[in-house]
Amino acid sequence: MLREARQGQVTAVSSALSAASVHCQVEPVGRWFEAFIKRRNINVSASFQELEDEKELSEESGDEELQLEEFPMLKTLDPKDWKNQDHYAVLGLGHIRYRATQKQIKAAHKAMVLKHHPDKRKAAGEQIGEGDNDYFTCITKAYEILSDPVKRRAFNSIDPIFDNSVPSKSEAKENFFEVFSPVFERNARWSNKKSVPKLGDMNSSFEEVDAFYSFWYNFDSWREFSYLDEEEKEKAECRDERRWIEKQNRAARALRKKEEMNRIRTLVDNAYSCDPRIKKFKEEEKAKKEAEKKAKQKQAELEAVRLAKEKEEEEVRQQALLAKKEKEIQKKAIKKERQKLRTTCKNWNYFSDNEAECVKMMEEVEKLCDRLELTSLQYLNEALTSTTREGGKAAVVKQIEEVNEQIRQEKEEAEARIRQASKSSERSTSSGGGGSKNWSEDDLQLLIKAVNLFPAGTNSRWEVIANYMNLHSTTGIKRTAKDVINKAKSLQKLDPHQKDDINKKAFDKFKKDHGAVPQLDNAAPSERFEGPVTDSSPWTTEEQKLLEQALKTYPVNTPERWEKIAAAVPGRSKKDCMKRYKELVEMVKAKKAAQEQVLNATKAKK
């Protein structure tokens, strides 16, 4: 129940609706859904039957107001010649033609009948033709044709005012779109398919153009030419005649249809050959192909370069292989010669009957085998085979002497070098320890750590180690993998020497202990390495051992390390321990440096 309006209340909108429409997901079922989609697809703005009815009404009223064109020739038309008349013009629809709706045709006919019916004219006192001779027959005929969809189509097909012309190629040279666009639009009305693609413009995409031409090349036309049939089937008197007429007509129609298709074909051909877009696309295609070709060529060149490189590598490898083989051959030869020497020596019982002498000779021969080159060995063997036992002995002894002399010389040289090296290494350790390539103590430690951290088998192990070194080193020296490898190898080589040294030292100590001060354990000072040793009492082995143990049990980061270490070594203060430790470190460093020096020297010599 609605309320009564209060005084002064008027129709008004106080505020706009707060919410617009929302999009909802719906289920695609049911007839209302279908109806909804259909309405939406044909873009009906409102969803009501009434509106559609209104539209229809307005259409009808439009029909009533339909402007019929006066056809001035109407009255002069010859009803006999109805085939050649323009039926649309007769009904006054000359301006709408094939677009006229059935309704409009009906309305137009009605209007014409009202105006031109013979009875009406007779009443108006006009002259009327006899029977079918009156021009009204034309109107009837026109309506008859246009109201029948089949006949109307036939008439539309040969629409007398349709322009069948096809622009020639030369016409379209300059303004292709202006010339061809209207022609295609005109011909589009013959299409069976509803949506005819437009010619487009210069900016149309390749797909659009392609779709356009493929549509027109496969043009499906409804145009037919039954209207132009020479004879009318209905006029035939018997079946045979009718058949004959039909046959004639069919042939004529087919011919015309073919002509029509040819016309369309020519049109499309002309357009295609003139189309600037096609030219453009072709050029683009060509450019693309060219680019592809170039890319391929480049690829081929690259490939050739790669192949050449591979070949080179292969050659290098082959050479290396050859060299290796040669070496092996040489090795084998040496081996053979050695064996020969040994056997000859053995055959001659090592040139002596004395056992001891024999053994000594054997050793010497072995030495010979090791030291001599291939050529000298060969020479020796030749000499041995060519002479007697005594001669052989002389040759061998001579050779042995030579070799011994050589060894001695080498030894002397080496000793001299070692002496020199140790001197320089001492110098270098005092100046910071960076003997070779500035490997400081920290770096060395770091290297050892790194080597342990990345064991053999790690992926690109030495690069990783080098990186690790560079990252963690405090010296800031950049090291390459090669440096690291060299250093590590040298360290490894050094190790056994160090061990030897230590062993020797221990032996010396032992000798001193037992030789100089026998029965006294604590009298073994390690003075030899304590260059600037101060007044503190020397360390005994016992104490040394304890200290080492303590150093191990309390690692570097232990808080109050030295106190604890001192406590672990009875009879020694914290200061003593530290001093001793420093000495030891220095000692080791010096030794290492010296060894390095030697190694470097030998390497340099090589």
Binding site: A16, C24, V29, S47
Partner: protein
């Protein structure tokens, strides 16, 4: 012209044909209206339907059941993994696709579905006596794009021309023609589907004859099979009591017992008691047992509770009460169980329970009706945008007074109406007044309109006074797609007319 609607469920498939304006389920060659969706592979042939189901006892590793659960899923899918572990036949992955391994040949789930579809097609064609290809197929609401595609492909391979895939709950509504007769009005319908392996409940809003899903929930852990299993367990314990043999560990005996329990369960939906009889169930011993409906309901009471709780949960989720539901549609074979219908009836005491169509036939019938609607139409292809419609966001109400003089609100234009739309109402005012005033409000939900929601008023002055009559005010509301509203009020007696247009606030 005829068309088919096919529903492929996890356990059963059913086909309905649409002919001469009617949709009917067709019986298969065995005379059953529902065909088990079971495919058995043997060396020489593939068997679909009841025969395959019966022979599953002997041929378990080469019999495919519940193919729908794996259709269109890839191996990473948890659902597919679950299915593979439960399945009795081996499923392997090849080229990224899951396939069954049958007698050393690989069979894809699509091929299995294709066989079932072929069977349904045969069934429909033998009933119609002519070749029919146009079909509408139903899919569960939670089917993804891949699964829909797989199902469509399978149907296409079976020779069907798929007109459309529609959701099962919508098909159920269509079967009852809800909202199809008169397009105005708005109602909420609850579709309760208890199928073989899953329970799915959907609330659909029907407005202007168009369906919109408000909420849906699928529970894969409960289905008709659970009831059968519970009954079979009961029967097994009965057997143990009688013969002192525990047959639960014997898969073959349990399979036999399951088949028997299934039959008993079906007859209990119509009869007060059912007889379970299995020859030579175990060790040559026959088994014979009577189960009453009350016993069955007792055994299954936890399951019933679960089925009902699911409804309550879903309603809570969409903030609706039982009163907001106007209709309940039952579908799925297990919705036949009388106890379940009873419980649902208790939950919705005032609501119409639609179960006149056998529940397991509702969905295929709906699909067939849809197929009939689509038959002969062009442009069946739906773009995604077609599935989304502009709808009005808020209710449009008019304020009036009742006999006691207090304010009342009448909904003139409900929310969720697909736009554009026109609604026409004849409002009445006491004839003693010479003027009427329509105060228009907008509101969302069920909360009453407040004063600030008022957006317009329409006043008609100088009406003819009628002492013992009523003024009839014809009110037409038209809302365009953008949500702007146009209202025309006309007094029927004097022809006085007021028109307003309300735009949407930008």
């Amino acid at each position: 012209m005829a068309a088919i609607g096919v529903h492929l469920g996890c356990t059963c498939a059913c086909a309905a044909v649409y002919k001469d304006g009617r949709a009917d389920v067709v019986a298969n060659d065995a005379g059953d209206r529902v065909t088990p969706a079971v495919v058995a592979y043997s060396e020489s042939e593939e068997v679909v339907g009841l025969a395959a189901k019966q022979s599953r006892v002997r041929n378990i590793s080469n019999t495919v059941v519940k193919v729908k659960q794996i259709l269109g899923r890839s191996s990473g899918d948890p659902q597919a993994e679950k299915y593979i572990t439960e399945s009795k036949c081996s499923v392997t992955e090849k080229n990224g696709k899951l396939q069954y391994e049958m007698d050393n040949k690989l069979v894809s789930p699509e091929e299995v579905a294709k066989l079932i579809f072929s069977k349904m097609k045969e069934t429909a064609q033998s009933a119609l006596g002519s070749d029919v290809n146009d079909v509408v197929i139903t899919v569960p609401f939670d089917f993804g794009e891949n699964q829909k595609n797989a199902l469509g492909e399978a149907a296409g391979a079976a020779g069907f021309n798929v007109l459309r895939l529609i959701h099962e709950p919508s098909a159920a509504l269509l079967a009852y023609g809800i909202g199809q007769d008169s397009p105005t009005g708005k109602s909420n319908v609850l579709v309760y589907k208890l199928g073989g392996t899953s329970l799915s409940i959907t609330v659909i809003e029907v407005n202007s004859g168009i369906y919109r899903v408000l909420a849906t929930n699928t529970d894969d852990s409960i289905g008709g099979v659970c009831f059968t299993e519970a009954l079979a367990q009961h029967l097994a314990s009965e057997f143990q009591r009688g013969y002192k043999h525990d047959i639960r560990e014997n898969p073959r005996a349990m399979m036999k017992l399951m088949n028997s329990a299934d039959i008993a369960k079906h007859s209990l939906s119509t009869l007060g008691s059912a007889n379970c009889f299995v020859d030579s169930l175990y060790d040559g011993l026959d088994f014979d047992c009577n189960v009453s409906r009350a016993r069955f309901e007792l055994i299954c009471s936890p399951l019933f509770n679960k089925c009902i709780e699911a409804i309550k949960k879903l309603l809570q989720q969409v903030r609706l009460t039982a009163d907001d539901i106007n209709k309940v549609v039952l579908c799925g074979g297990s919705a036949r169980i009388p106890k379940l219908q009873h419980l649902i009836k208790d939950l919705f005491p005032t609501v119409e329970l639609l179960n006149s169509i056998p529940p397991d036939e509702v969905i295929p019938i709906g699909a067939a009706i849809e197929a009939g609607i689509l038959l002969g139409r062009e442009n069946l292809l739906l773009e995604d945008e077609a599935l989304s419609m502009e709808c009005s966001a808020k209710d449009i109400l008019v304020k009036g007074v009742d006999e006691s003089g207090s304010d009342t609100f009448t909904v003139l234009f409900p929310s969720g109406t697909p736009l554009p739309a026109r609604r026409q109402h004849t409002l009445q005012a006491p004839g003693s007044n010479s003027s009427v005033c329509l105060e228009l409000y907008e509101s969302i939900g069920k909360c009453l309109a407040k004063e600030e929601d008022k957006f317009a008023q329409i006043v008609l002055q100088d009406l003819d006074k009628k002492e013992d009559g009523l003024h009839d005010i014809l009110t037409v509301l038209t809302m365009k797609r953008d949500g702007s509203l146009h209202i025309t009020c006309t007094d029927q007696d004097t022809g006085k007319c007021e028109v307003i247009t309300v735009e949407v606030a930008s």
